[in-house]
Symmetry: C2
Subunit: 205 residues, 2 copies
DNA sequence: TGTACATCAGTGAACGCGCGTTCACTGATGTAC
DNA sequence: TGTACATCAGTGAACGCGCGTTCACTGATGTAC
């Protein structure tokens, strides 16, 4: 990795930490460069403006999240061949991963963009939309495989159930932040898991 | 209502609309007073600083939300005496209310505060925490009454299930905003309802 | 091996603008005697 | 009924600061011949 890429990466790390705790427009370039030990013009060498920083950050964040989902749910599939049980294992792993993050999940970039939408350019907001729709697709595929084998015990739209995974995460992050308790997020993921169990798993006799 | 209270209320309405769509610090006082047709000093007559506006807004928002919950769930209780069925009816009503809002739910003030926490003073953040904890208490009471009559079919912490109501709403709002589809929020509430049904309602034979 | 040029990764100074905030003042309405 | 004073609901001008952005320049490294 060249010196430049390194600096760029560092700027993004610093920016992300600030943004996730304070919001995008409350995190100033001055603040970022002070921590990075660089001049403001150096910042603008790496990003042509602040929206480009937002876009780069969002892209990286989404890619990382995709990676995390890939890892967790393919690991889960290795542990159990049945799609339902594999999904349940994956949700447990996800819940543990979220609980283990230093001070809980640091907050979600996607939500950050949502809560100040007017201030980002179209490209950034579009990126955001696509990420959420990609999550929907990912989880819908899993749920369809499950539903084939296990007829759902309630009349639900699987697409909405797929969205529920993301919604649970986003809602859990907000709640964790609001009450100041990181455990809430992993608890909520476990409740989603409980719903999946009750929805698909046949009554044990 | 005096002239002053009227103006104050109008300032808050205008501010809220801006804040819910763009975020708090992206909504400038200039913008608010331009729409209100008042001078900036007039604004500072009503609110000693911007944090006081935030606090007033949050207080009003929380009170309104409490009122909404009161109305919906007491109406539901009128319609059915059983706590579980009443809760299910309430959730249906809530889902419909959310779907009927002009362009979906405009976004949640509580989450707005969460996503730029550092920028608010302690008092505002505390208000936020208390509101969420009040929701927990409210729904926990309902769930305990239900659980007494209907033993849950999965081993869950009722406090977490109570939080799930708020979490579902917050997550649903984020998702609705992200994909630009107001329906997502009411769908998510219905899925929470489906969970409650599966969790408490005995198998029909 | 030396020279010429190009690219990379920045520096330093200056910019204009919008923001929240202050402060001295004012005209209209309400209240006391 | 008239006068004095107080409060309400603002006005108008000025403030300083921090913000994102620009632009001309630079020293170090890489590449071509």
């Amino acid at each position: 990795m060249s010196k430049g890429e390194n600096t760029r990466e560092r700027l993004m790390d610093i920016a992300q930490a600030g943004i996730l705790s304070k919001g995008f427009w409350a995190t100033s370039i001055d603040e970022i460069i002070a921590e990075a030990g660089i001049t403001k013009s150096g910042f603008f060498y790496h990003f042509k403006d602040k929206n480009e920083l937002a876009r780069a950050l969002l892209e990286r964040y989404i890619a990382l999240e995709e990676q995390l989902f890939d890892d967790i749910f393919s690991r889960a599939r290795e542990l159990h061949d049945d799609p339902l049980h594999a999904f349940m294992i994956g949700l447990k792993l996800l819940s543990e991963t979220m609980a283990d993050l230093p001070n809980g999940h640091p907050g979600c970039m996607v939500a950050t963009v949502c809560y100040s939408e007017r201030m980002f350019d179209n490209e950034v907001r579009d990126l955001n939309r696509k990420a959420v729709l990609a999550w929907r697709t990912r989880f819908l595929a899993m749920l369809e495989e499950i539903a084939e084998r296990y007829p759902p015990r309630d009349d639900v739209d699987l697409k909405a159930v797929a969205d529920m995974m993301s919604s649970t995460a986003e809602g859990g992050i907000v709640m964790s932040k609001a009450v100041g308790d990181p455990k809430v997020l992993s608890q909520q993921i476990l409740l989603f898991r409980s719903y999946i169990r009750l929805l698909f798993l046949p009554e044990s006799h």
